[in-house]
């Protein structure tokens, strides 16, 4: 537990992250008002005691919408980061194990190529092909997480491959796959967790951005980005419609970033270098 106090950012980060995770989880069983029921007569009501964030253009409770939206954001970002890790980490490990080889070269060139595509463009293209949906947003964001994790893993793994304990493992007759799994992976895990939180926050931002331009989760699924897009024309009429979802994104991303920084400092002070 003392880890929590190693860093000034960890605690606030953890609290914010917990808050939104809790909101998402609670929304699975309970929300203040049912978000699937529209109440046109009651639309765009300013914040009140009963509805602290007010109601939206269809008369839905914004607090409830944000809680349900947290679920979407977290799910999309989490799965996208999962994809990035699941594909990127093995690729990075493989590239490092055969440094300078053809495999390494192909992986790194492919990475560069993905990096060369502005991510939103790819998202636009993917949704043009497969249609806009949360799933396609996940795929688009996930694809961009792959090179991030591949590079990070490769870089960290390369420096580990120079360690003598890797040499010792090779002397013990272990193959590179086994060494990658037994020695390299656990030692890059911290780094991956830290980068994971950062990518997670970027994923939430990306989901919001995609939903904002209409390429993310589709109604009736609540999504913060779409709430912002829907409220955009009403911003001068009822600013609270845009304010609360925007703040929700801001605070969640902030929380995750603080958590990531804090974890980095606490898990391993040496990792601070890797932060960009």
């Amino acid at each position: 537990m003392s880890v929590l106090f190693h860093s000034r950012t960890l605690l606030p980060g953890a609290i914010l992250t917990l808050l939104f995770t809790a909101a998402a989880l609670i929304s699975l069983v309970w929300v203040p008002y049912d978000t699937t029921v529209l109440d046109i007569a009651n639309r765009m009501k300013p914040p009140s005691w009963l509805q602290p964030f007010g109601t939206d253009q269809f008369g839905r409770d914004i607090l409830s919408m944000i809680m349900v939206g947290a679920r979407t954001s977290i799910a999309v970002a989490l799965v996208a980061v999962g994809i990035g890790m699941a594909v990127g980490v093995p690729l990075g490990l493989a590239a490092a194990a055969r440094k300078g080889g053809l495999m390494d070269e192909i992986i790194m060139r492919a990475n560069d190529l993905v990096f060369a595509f502005p991510s939103l463009l790819i998202a636009v293209m993917i949704t043009a092909v497969f249609g806009a949906s949360a799933l396609n947003a996940i795929i688009a964001i996930g694809i961009f997480n792959i090179p991030v994790f591949a590079r990070l893993t490769r870089g960290a793994a390369l420096s580990l491959w120079n360690r003598e304990y890797i040499l010792a493992a090779r002397v013990a007759g272990k193959g590179s796959a086994r060494i990658s799994l037994e020695h390299i992976l656990p030692n890059v895990a911290n780094l991956l967790i830290v980068q994971g939180t950062i990518q997670f926050s970027l994923g939430i931002l990306a989901e919001a951005g995609l939903s904002y331009v209409g390429l993310g989760a589709q109604p009736p699924t609540a999504s913060w980005g779409r709430m912002l897009a829907d409220s955009q024309t009403m911003i001068s009429l009822a600013p609270h419609l845009a304010l609360f979802p925007g703040l929700a994104i801001l605070l969640t991303v902030l929380g995750l970033n603080l958590l990531g920084d804090g974890l980095r400092d606490s898990l391993d002070p040496k990792l601070r270098r890797a932060r960009t």
Binding site: G100, Y165, A168, A169, V171, A172, G173, E182, H183, N187
Partner: protein, 529 residues
Amino acid sequence: MSLLTIRNLSLSIHGLQILRNVSMEVAPGRILGVIGESGSGKSITAFSVLQLLPGGASCTGSINLSGKDILSLSEAEMCGLRGRDVGMVFQEPMTALNPLKTIGDQVAETILIHERVSKAEAMVRAADALQRAELPQERFPLSRYPHELSGGQRQRVVIAMAIALKPKLLIADEPTTALDVTTQAQILELLKRLVAEDGMGLMLISHDLAVVADLADDLVIMRQGEVVESGPAKTLFGNLQHPYSRALLEASAHVPERGNETLEQPLLQVRDVVRDYTGHTHGWWGKTTQFRAVDGVSFEIRKGESLGLVGESGCGKSTLTRAILGLEEVQGGEILFDGLPVFTHHHANQIVRRRMQVVFQDPYGSFNPRWRVDRLITEPFHLLSDPPKGAERDAAIAEALESVGLSASDAHKYIHEFSGGQRQRIAIARALIIKPDLIILDEAVSALDVSVRAHVLDLLADLADRFGLTYLFISHDLSVVRSITDRVLVMKAGKIVEQGPTDTVFDRPNHPYTQQLVAAAPVLPAGIL
């Protein structure tokens, strides 16, 4: 009259006491050697003089530099002092220079900071300083960048920077630790000459008694932030009072007792081995370069023998080790272990591999920090087709740990809970656990403090005795090699230039390179033990 006087200097960092009542003096034209084990506070003492201390440090006592009380000077006044009155040379020449600036600029900067001179004039004087540090302009123009120089040459640049304004005091903090013996000898000679020419005072910090012994006029021996003994070198050496000092001295010259006999039968035969590295200058598309790291090496190790391999950094020792261990394929020649090739059909021969193990230099880097000791030392079981399990495994672990002087209960600790010496014992335990015939020790004791090193050497000798082990002992430290090997190979630029019984080679070197090496190796003056 003394130049630098430190009186009762105590220092703490964030409340943690680092130095306690340290006192020492440096006189003009004289060399003060400061020795002590790693962490004894030598560097911190030096930094105190320059007031370049880490954050949170606070000093008491007094530091007096030619009449000025350092501890009472302001930061601006200290800036005026550093570089002009006191020059400093650091341990690590590879990183002590700004990689983006030319050496001329960096040396001239010392001058420009302190004197109102034109850039051109400063450059002229920088050239002069470099000349004095034996970097003549014809061969090392001012426009060179640090990466274009070798380690020893970079250290000369740092020295030139430190002496550019002819400071009264020069502090050299382990200036040669990162260098080869031959380079080390040259740098030490240079420092000695500069002291004599300029009448500077030199504070020479080292953990190596032998390095300091033939240079220093006065000695200070430190331990855990305290000065345990000090005095003029000549008298002090013959007359050490403090038990720690004596232990240090003894450890430096320690020769383990060895008793096992060598059989005639060769265990390892290396014939005409060639190892080329194919490098890519940039990625896979870049042009390839060929580099021959091992060039036609042949030798034999007999059963029960302890063979030494010495040579400068980068001469191919580790490459050869990897080839013997079957980790890399060689481009020419063959390596036979007990008559069997270590490498067959592009794969390491598992039967042979089982009978060799290795101990590396870095006691910190050779263990996965996330594993417990039991898992670490049983890693070589991977080589066995039927590794011991359960109680049998525990017994093997206990035996291995006990044979290196640790207890069976250490098996459940993590590696960070051990000191450097203990870690090296664990490394040896890991090598022993599959009961190999040959153990290769690649700089296995180079990173250890002298006293710890002595213990480990004793342990190695003892183990060889008990288990009939054969060693290939690689080191750049001649005295260590001398103390533990029967025969020695001298390697230079990938070739074996001389081999023979250890004493013969070291006492009557034939090859000019061997002669140079032996001459450069620092030795404690005779008769001080």
